[in-house]
Symmetry: C2
DNA sequence: GATGACGTTGACGTTAACGTCAAGCTAAAT
DNA sequence: ATTTAGCTTGACGTTAACGTCAACGTCATC
C-alpha cells in the first residue's frame, strides 16, 4: 500500500496556511517533504506533524520548542537507554502541558466567579425593577 | 486607607520583567500608572493587571487581545444593558479559554498514550532480558 | 560637589514568523 | 504556440514585542 501524499497546495487548503508557511517550516526542519523533480511531496507523516505544529502554536509555543517535542512523536526502533531518555523528555512535556492546563483552569474559575457575580447583580436589579 | 503603590523597579523585580516592558505596556494602554513628577507610580490595580497580562502571555495571547479581555476585569458602576453586553463578552472569553484547555487536555491524553505504550515496551524488554 | 542608584524620554536594533514580490520552470488546456 | 495553474527559489518587507543605547533629571550619600 503506497501511502497517501499531498501537494503543497492541498495541505495549505486543508489547514488554511500559505505555501510560504510550509516552506518556512521545512527550512526550520519541522517538516521534511520529499522532492519529485523540484516539487515538494508531503507524506502522511508531514501532515500529522503539521497538525501538531498548528496545535502547538495555538498553545503559544515557539516553533523551536515545537520542533523539539515533535521529536517525541517519531521514536524509531530505539535502544532501551534511548527509550528511557525519551520517557524523561515526555514526562517533562507532560508537566509543561499540565501546568498550562491548570493555569487555564484557574483563569476560567476566576472569570466564572466574576460572571456569577454579575449575573446575581442583574437578578437583583431585575427584582428591584419588578417591585416598582 | 491609602492604597499600596509600587515603583517601576519594584514591579520589575517582583515579576521579572524589565522597565522597558512596563513602559511598553503603558504605551499600549495595558497599564496606566500615575505620575509623580515624571516618575511612574503603579497602583494595586496596575499590579493585578500585570499579573493577568503575564498569564495571558503564557497562554499565547497577543497583547492586543489581552488588552481587550482586561477590560472585563474592571467593570465600573455599569448600566444593565452594559452588564448584559459584558456577560456576552465574558461568555466568549470563557469559550476561548475552554477551547484551549480542552485542546491541551487532548494533547495530554495523546502523549500519555504514547508514554504508556513505551513503558509497556520497556517492561516487555526487561522481561525478555531476565529470561536469558 | 561628585558619585551612584533609580528614574525619564527618544530612537534605533533585534528576533520570530511569516508576507510579498520578482523571475522562472513545467505540465495541461486552449 | 501560448496561456493558465501550480510550483520553485531568492530576496527584501513587515509586525509584535520587546532590547539596547544615549542623554538627561533627581535625589541621597560620601
Amino acid at each position: 500500500m503506497t501511502e497517501k501524499t499531498f501537494s503543497i497546495g492541498e495541505l495549505c487548503a486543508e489547514f488554511d496556511v500559505t505555501p510560504r508557511t510550509l516552506r518556512f517550516y521545512e527550512q526550520r526542519e519541522l517538516l521534511s517533504p520529499i522532492r519529485e523533480g523540484q516539487k515538494r511531496i508531503f507524506t502522511a507523516r508531514d501532515r500529522a506533524r503539521l497538525k501538531l505544529i498548528l496545535r502547538g502554536k495555538r498553545f503559544g509555543f515557539s516553533l523551536e520548542s515545537i520542533r523539539q517535542w515533535l521529536e517525541l512523536y517519531d521514536l524509531g526502533d530505539s535502544q532501551v537507554t534511548q527509550l528511557t531518555t525519551w520517557l524523561e523528555h515526555a514526562a517533562q512535556q507532560m508537566d509543561t502541558l499540565r501546568e498550562q492546563r491548570d493555569e487555564l483552569q484557574d483563569a476560567m474559575t476566576e472569570l466564572q466567579d466574576l460572571i456569577t457575580y454579575v449575573e446575581r447583580d442583574l437578578e437583583v436589579r431585575g427584582a428591584a425593577e419588578a417591585a416598582e
